[in-house]
């Protein structure tokens, strides 16, 4: 059964159709690649799925239930977590605090309890801190828990965004260009971490990525969009050979134009 399914989703900004009748199915526990040239609508698709924008048409289902048009907080609560292409960390806060912010589900004490520092509140804090530490360890940031998030190098900031998203205990993780700005060694480490999240934590992962080496190595299925439309989908090998994909990335061949 597919965890996430989009059925003929449209998104229009003014006169521009950012998404045109996009349909896709993300099976449970898949590592699913979403690729396409710049401006193809990949991030818009993420924004529509996570509720930043509401779709102008079509149906978005998560675990069989329609989520189109719900608020970002509600959708996050249902189990869809994301990272951002243009990193959005809580820059002045520490690495650990960044992760802990996403830990509402581990938090039971009331506001009054927090103000009075009740026993339940202290236990909550300890639980959150412990979980945050584990996730930072998984993403290789254990040593930086006390650092200010904005001071981390670029690649670490991207991994911190993943750790923060994991704190939500999501079922589906949307990664927007997680390898951007990483060198090949860091990208290799990221690939290992992404596989770990699926294999050991049972997550389903959708990633938007321009680094084709990463996409071809980790993804089992790839969906290609251009100008807001689906132009191909299938295994990485097949997609790589697809004439429509080649045309979108490299331009049309001379015979076709003629």
């Amino acid at each position: 059964m597919s965890l996430l399914s989009l059925e003929k989703v449209d998104k229009i900004f003014g006169g521009l159709s950012a998404l045109k009748q996009v349909s896709l199915e993300v099976p449970e526990r898949a590592i699913f690649g979403l690729i396409g040239p710049n401006g193809a609508g990949k991030t818009t698709l993420f924004n529509v799925i996570t509720g930043v924008y509401s779709p102008d048409g079509g149906v978005i289902r998560f675990e069989g239930q329609s989520i189109g048009g719900q608020s970002p907080a509600r959708i996050a609560h249902r189990g869809i977590a994301r990272t951002f292409q243009n990193i959005r960390l809580f820059r002045a806060m520490t690495v650990e605090e960044n992760v802990m912010v996403a830990g509402h589900h581990l938090h039971q004490a009331s506001v009054l309890g927090a103000m009075l520092r009740t026993r339940a509140q202290i236990a909550d804090e300890a639980r959150l801190r412990k979980r945050a530490g584990e996730l930072l360890e998984i993403m290789g940031l254990g040593k930086h828990a006390e650092d200010v998030a904005g001071s981390l190098p670029y690649g670490s900031q991207r991994r911190l965004e993943i750790a923060r998203a994991l704190m939500l205990q999501p079922k589906l993780l949307l990664l927007d260009e997680p390898a951007a700005g990483m060198n090949s060694q860091e990208a290799g480490e990221l690939e290992r971490q992404i596989r770990f999240l699926r294999d050991q934590m049972g997550l389903t992962i959708v990633l938007v990525e321009h680094n084709m080496a990463v996409v071809m190595s980790v993804c089992e299925a790839v969906h290609v969009v251009d100008h807001g439309e689906t132009i191909a989908h299938g295994t990485p090998e097949n997609v790589k050979k697809d004439p429509a994909v080649l045309a979108a990335y490299l331009g049309k061949s001379t015979e076709e134009v003629a």
């Binding site: 996050a76 006390e146 704190m167």
Partner: protein, 334 residues
Amino acid sequence: MQLVRRLAVASAIGLVLYGIGLWLQGGVIEYVQRIVFLAGINVILAVGLNLINGTTGQFSIGHAGFMAVGAYGAAFSGVKLQPVLQNWIGAGAVADGLTLNVGLLVGALLAGLTGLLVGAPSLRLRGDYLAVVTLGFGEVIRISFNNAKFLGAATGFSGDSPSGLPALTTFFWVYAWAIAILILIRNLTFSQTGRSLAAIREDEIAAEAMATPTTRLKVLAFSLSAASAGIAGGLFAFMQPSIRPEDFRFDKSIDMIVMIIIGGLGSISGAVVGGIFVAVTLELMRDLQQYRLVLYALLLIVIMLVRPQGLLGSRELSEVLRSRFGRPKAQAAK
């Protein structure tokens, strides 16, 4: 154990406050006493305002309105309650203390509710727009009191007795409330709720994507902040024979903003320092009358130029001391 220890600490603080209070009453001139009281009230105002302006990053410039609601609420309920209590348990410190504290709670509740009413619609706005709306509401509240006949309208409210409002505010209660509010808000700031508030300040879109109920939390912080201003207003009311709408003009809101900016936006210890600073300088500049506003403006400009993050930045005093003298923590440069 926890409870026993806390009760012990609270009683110790209470005893110390009581002692200082007695000493102030005996040996110190009234003028200085008044400054000391105002400093405590300012601390409450600044720590409360810092929760919404500093920690949550939602700029309110109309908090004098909530102070007014607290002042009138406390004064009105106190004046009605006092004779009843005096009949019941006899005049004295117990009746006075009860009157004061019930009055303060009524004032805080009304101010908090007003905060809820103002905050719920306006906290959907951001930045400058929110500031303008809070400014407007602050004025609306003041002008409402200006026209409320049963509260004395523009001439002010002085209760039923010819000697004016009862002088119930004591050193003990000002500082007991200041310390209590300081502790409650500090605890909240360093909890999951506080982290979420800071996350809203840092990046609201990301906070929302992390399932943070942003609107609810902003309204909560705003109401708590308004309720603190209400307590401060109540303590202020029982310090003088009457309260007038013009005690809570726009420049009162500006004074509060000066307090938190001088201390460093987002820092609780900064708010404490700023609150005391403003109480003292306001008194020192009393002879300058309206020119003090010019001086404050100049002071703000100088601080913005020389130390834009305020005296303490967004850090707490404990962090500053630790980074100066304590073990070197992996603290990144800001």
